[in-house]
Symmetry: C3
Subunit: 268 residues, 3 copies
């Protein structure tokens, strides 16, 4: 529960990136709904995947209230203090690391949950673990529709960001562990994966980098399996849609910068 | 059952607004599907929200047949008689009032149903009551996709119309009553809310007005809670997307007028 | 199971039509996901319609692996051999015929499955049989979104292709049989419908025709029931969206031709 709430806190810069400040002024209801989709997107998607009620998680009133409080403070706090606080780099690094801790636990829980429902459904385990780990990214296109925005080029399936990719690989690893194809215990795997994710994400956040640690391995595997050209793999992933001059990640970053500037100007 | 069918009848001008006459000529199947989404959108959405089958309501063959008959008469009746009949102002006012009676009952039933599934899930009760009350409006963007139309600016989450807002407030009231935070009995609340909704809607329909009775309270609450500028609240709600010269409600109205003219011309 | 796998094989030209070769190079994960949606779209939609888990079918690991193998061979086989093999006309005709055999069995199974869940839900039986038969076509707009493409004019609800229409009529026939309104046994109906579908589709594929065998009956029924102008029915179905110079089917065909040329060029 305490980790969950910290995870919500660390979701803040995501809110900034995507739920724009204008929506929060014009339509608080739409802004709150988007915020909830961002906080609980992974639970919603996993519930849909397993055939449950998509709003099942909303029965935990205290979690919803906590997330609503963070949403309220973030958008409507006087002098924009709360946002400045969580966007302060050292605080942000701690939140980012804790978020990856939560992400790993979510992937493991998703795989375990799916393995209870489908004992030998390895594909289902991977899918549920994957949406549990990267639900926020996968739900973002739907969330854009709610705000009347439609940018298909920021599609997390076509252009997977680092956390989305890592969730997929993590879900595959945890499924292999669940199927006893990996000679490690679950707790060891959780520990190792958490350490890898947290350190990667902290380094990437501190250096404002979007390069993926998987780039080298991926370019070799894609070359062998799918005949992709070697080396320039990272380029190939992002550049073909030439109409979009920058990668979606940059677009998000710019958006976020724009929102920050607007918020900063407002606060002055 | 008799009220339901009347509610379907009063949905007629909605059909006119949105399911265009061309679709009914080109593709009767698509037109019928849109009509069914409009009639039973609230049941479909509520079933999805509670994790059931979205077409669960379609097991009531008589309701579907009745709605299909209304759809058929509305679009294919010789001389356009049926449409002229239900669009005649006195008849329309009665249907509009009866529709609000049904809406209130639906909200109360939705909240009650959700409270059985989730005893303390107050957020779930509000959400289910809300989609039960305003399912038609919420499903309209999806229905547009079926007809190959995509107008994100007519988004009922971003620009809530009066019935959508009233459904949200109603769902909150009924949830508070269900949680025993309101010192009134359920029947009193249903009576009062029905009276308020029916009279507001009849007055608004008679005066062709789209102003919301909540405007004053909302502008004050939004000012206090969300720092929105006072007074010009209604302007602020609709004008910021400057690219769209008129509010979505007006657009719908114009559409409806256009459809009426086309139908009238055809009938001559 | 063997028929299923052949059905997957015959889905190949569909892949070609729609999952473009570029996506398979840029993002193998998105390409695989699209391929799975195409293979198992009918199961996914039917599970959603009956309120189950949309990924329920993914528990059959061997089916998924087989479909994945077909996908891999189709897109990444050296010299493009596999695609040339299945696109060779005699092979294609056999696959097309077998696919219609599978389609009829799917419609009958869908209607039967729905009749178990809802004993008198005739509308539900028709809907489930319909999505079982033409799930691929209905899911294609959603699948386009995954690839970042959005062409609402290729909407299978508005412009039903022959297999989609035949699935609807088949679902209605099987529902009438299930309700004992047709004086034929189920096996006779399956045999007759399979024969009709397979022969129609083989003739249409061999002659590269998109005319529907239903055109004459449809134009008379639409004239009587919906007042559509007689004779030019087929024109009326496709021409009104004048902005789109060719019917969606032609667009798909062109796309497919383009993809074939690109693949051929690559293979040289």
């Amino acid at each position: 529960m305490s980790l969950e709430s910290l995870s919500i806190g660390s979701e803040d810069d995501k809110f900034e990136n995507i739920c724009s400040v204008e929506v929060s002024r014009r339509s608080p209801v739409a802004s709150w709904l988007c915020a909830m989709l961002y906080c609980f997107g992974s639970y919603i998607l996993a519930d849909i995947m397993l055939g449950g009620s998509p709003i099942d998680y909303f029965q935990y009133n205290s979690h919803i209230l906590l997330a609503s409080a963070v949403w309220y403070l973030l958008f409507y706090c006087p002098l924009n203090l709360f946002y400045k606080c969580v966007a302060f780099l050292p605080v942000k690094l701690v939140l980012v690391a804790l978020k990856e801790v939560v992400r790993t636990r979510k992937i493991a829980a998703g795989v375990h949950h799916a393995s209870h429902a489908y004992h030998h459904g390895f594909f289902i385990m991977v899918i549920v673990g994957y949406v549990k780990g990267s639900g926020v990214a996968l739900i973002s296109n739907f969330e854009q529709l709610l705000r009347g925005v439609w940018r298909p080029e920021t599609n997390e399936i076509l252009n997977m960001s680092f956390p989305t990719k890592a969730s997929l690989y993590g879900a595959i690893l945890f499924t292999m562990q669940e199927a006893h194809w990996l000679p490690v215990s679950k707790s060891t795997l959780i520990l190792a994966f958490t350490f890898f994710m947290a350190s990667s994400k902290v380094v990437m956040t501190a250096r404002h980098s979007h390069g993926s640690p998987f780039a080298l391995i991926e370019s070799w595997v894609c070359h062998l399996l799918f005949g992709s050209p070697l080396g320039g793999s990272e380029e190939d992933h992002h550049h073909p849609p030439a109409a979009a001059p920058s990668s979606p990640l940059k677009t998000k970053e710019e958006l976020s910068d724009g929102a920050r500037k607007r918020k900063a100007k407002k606060a002055e």
